[in-house]
Amino acid sequence: VKLAVVVQRYGADINGGAEQHARYVAERLARHHDVEVLTTRARDYVTWADELPAGVEEIHGVPVRRFPVAHQRDVTLFARRQEAVFDRVHSIQDELAWLDAEGPTSPALLRHVRNSRAVYDWFIFFSYRYWHAFHGSRAVPDRALLVPTAERDPAIGLAVFGPVFRGVRALMYNSHEERAMIQHVAQTSEVPGVVVGIGSEVPDEPSAERFRQQFGITAPFAVYVGRIDANKGCAELFDYFERYSRTVRAELHLVLVGKTILPIPKHPRIHHLGFLADEQKFDAMAAADVLLMPSYFESLSMVALEAWAIGKPVLANGKCDVLKGQVIRSGAGLYYENYPEFAEALHAITSARALRRSLGENGRTFFRTHYDWPVIERKYLDMLDRLERDRDTPRAPMDPLPGFFARRRRTLPAAADVAASVPAGAVLA
């Protein structure tokens, strides 16, 4: 079976969640099938500027074919179009314009997908909200698998995505919450789907002692790993931690790992280590008492899974349904929805060793059961086998886009309102 993994960016040094997810999946499936990655030359997800060389290169044994982006993102235009579709009554044409403004607009990539539909048995598209996934899925619906990586944000309420969700051959969800949300907005119960998620390359023996020696942090600390961004809830995290440090437990430190686009407060117990290599990152996690996940929107937190893989509990933002659901289902962490809960939960985890150990053990078990690579691989392979078996089964085509005038009729509700109407909460069943 020849597979094409289609993703907006790709590279060993690109650490976006969906991009890393795609890389891991491609590399794992390459052990079983013939896999090729189709992507753009972009490195920056804001501008989509062509930075990487065009053509084919091999990354970790997987051939990667890069295509140019037609135009970079105009931030002002994108913001205006986003406001038009997220907050106001709008038309299909407005949504397509928004999608074009968001990018990465790569007609060459789309052309290749369309022209090589006979070359690949299956196309696995990542990230429903980007141009390449939308148009690519529409180009080869009968061979398309979609990994939506959907979050609870207004984009899920856009009308153009409903036919895509319903029209692809299979949906590979990251979480139960994501599945419930997509099924609600797009009625995808008929589409084959499975909650897969993503595994992680976790070293066997991360060394807490090595980290402490290397960075000189001997005090107990909580760690945050990821992009330090207000959109990831880091501003709230700083506020909460400063209050916690001031009023509850002064000796606990906060270690931040990752690139920052947010000013980090000057605080004697907040340490920013910048971007770390994987080994150092896992060492930091191993040395930490708890991993903090303050993000409001996540389709799947790989960092949380990695923390669980090495037996560390997670304190997650309970306003993110996915994180809350995972924490509850795994029994491997606690969650908070306001400062008092943050303070109590953090204190409970960091001060009660038995609780910490129990949560960590549960996390390890949860990871092994659901997110270990053999499990993930098996789910993908099973889905591909199933699709191969049903390849000849007739199915309804993907809904076409409306005509010229219907496409311009402003009758669609604001996407934010649609997204807000989606039932919230963790899926515990």
């Binding site: 509850i328 029994g331 809960e341 409970a348 001060s351 038995a354 609780l355």
Partner: protein, 424 residues
């Protein structure tokens, strides 16, 4: 924040979160939901805003404001003045535009109208924001008022706990001192001490509290022998009764002597035991033995001594509460006894009578304090309380009363003049 007791195989995250929320509720008082806060916001607005003339249905009124007049929002560009549905009309207007500009300047008009249109749109766009802002302010104000109320409750709770802890600390300190003294003096007088304490406490209470306003600051305790020697010549001026009373209620304090629990060593006020015993005396009635106000006992408490001027040759307080509250004091600096001395004498006689009535307890009360200086040989008549130790601070047999010794013999009234002489 308490710790959790978790079994490794029994982690229920939701149960832990329920515990956490319960604990937060306990700390914060009532935990309000968003809906409840909104309801409270609507109700509380009256209280908050009525004084300024703003009604509680402000938000609702703001929300249901009259709709915009038709045509309020319009577009006005530089071409609007010359626009038309009919292309031919548009053409001629454009053709004649230069001619029109000869007659007047339409640009000013179109610019003004354009700005007005933009302003209308700006106002319209920001009205929801203003509503949102006002709405959020009201909610936050309500939330803050609830929090203030909760904090007040917590403050009261903490204050009452603090007071309780202070009382408990005083009680514990009194108990600790009691035991330490018992270790020094042995256990044999424990029983009688219980009966003795009220009288001594009373005196000490006067000593610490009865210093008249403006009195000089208390001195540190001094060895009684050093004090007594220069004051001895004044002795003959005092009647034996007065001396007895004076000595009795002005026993010098000696470091290491037993604090009888009458004075709190920290606060200087009556300790819990003192108050308790005072209540007990009040229940027994004023005529009973041990309840006499004029009863005196050695004041071994240094703190008490400092406040009570037991050793100081300066205006000292009299014995009882009555005397303490009275400005009449004995002035050792004056030749002989002043009119106050008469009072002292009377009180002393009264005290003496009471000493006889409760002789055993009185004797115990005096002698159990390891203050040899307060036990002159002439008074005690017991070899155990006489000797060189009486002038020093040593402890030992001289401080202890043998079980067979009649304590009353050590408290004979005729012994008091000697003591008084020594003190003066």
């Amino acid at each position: 924040m308490s710790d959790f007791t978790i079994r490794a195989d029994a982690v229920d995250v939701e149960q832990i979160m329920r515990q956490i929320r319960g604990r937060i509720r306990d700390k914060r008082g009532v935990d309000y939901t968003e809906e409840q806060i909104r309801e409270l916001a609507a109700a509380k607005l009256e209280r908050f805003l009525d004084p300024t003339g703003v009604r509680s249905d402000l938000l609702e009124q703001f929300r249901t404001r009259p709709s915009l007049p038709p045509g309020f929002l319009y577009q006005f560009e530089d071409t609007t003045l010359f626009d038309s549905d009919k292309p031919i009309v548009r053409f001629f207007r454009k053709l004649l535009h230069p001619f029109l500009k000869l007659l007047f300047n339409p640009n000013v008009l179109s610019t003004t109208l354009h700005k007005q249109a933009a302003f209308n749109q700006y106002v319209h766009a920001h009205q929801p924001l203003q509503f949102e802002l006002l709405h959020n302010l009201v909610l936050e104000l309500t939330r803050a008022s609830i929090e203030v109320k909760n904090l007040k409750m917590r403050l009261e709770s903490v204050q009452s706990r603090l007071e309780f802890n202070e009382r408990r600390a005083r009680a514990l300190e009194a108990v600790v001192q009691y035991k330490a003294d018992a270790r020094v003096r042995g256990d044999r007088r424990d029983d009688s001490r219980r009966d003795q304490q009220p009288r001594g406490e009373h005196t000490r209470g006067q000593g610490s509290q009865g210093r008249p306003p403006g009195a000089p600051p208390p001195r540190p305790p001094q060895p009684p022998a050093q004090v007594r020697a220069p004051q001895a010549p004044q002795g003959p001026q005092v009647t034996p009764q007065a001396a007895a009373a004076a000595v009795a209620f002005e026993e010098p304090a000696t470091p290491g002597t037993e604090p009888q629990g009458g004075i709190d060593p920290i606060t200087g006020g009556d300790s819990l035991r003192t108050r308790r015993r005072r209540r007990r005396r009040g229940r027994r009635g004023p005529g009973e033995s041990g309840a006499g106000e004029g009863e005196v006992r050695a004041n071994p408490d240094p703190v008490d001594d400092e406040g009570g001027d037991n050793l100081a040759p300066q205006p000292s307080t009299a014995d009882s509460a009555d005397v303490a509250s009275s400005p009449r004091t004995w002035n050792p600096g004056a030749p002989g006894l002043s009119t106050d001395a008469t009072t002292s004498v009377q009180l002393g006689a009264e005290s003496e009578a009471r000493l006889k009535m409760g002789s055993t307890s009185d004797a115990e009360g005096d002698n159990r304090a390891p203050q040899p200086s307060t036990e002159p040989a002439a008074v005690t008549g017991s070899p155990s309380t006489s000797g060189p130790a009486s002038a020093g601070l040593s402890e030992g047999p001289t401080h202890d009363v043998p079980p067979g010794v009649d304590s009353e013999s050590r408290q004979r009234p005729d012994a008091t003049p000697d003591r008084d002489d020594e003190r003066q």
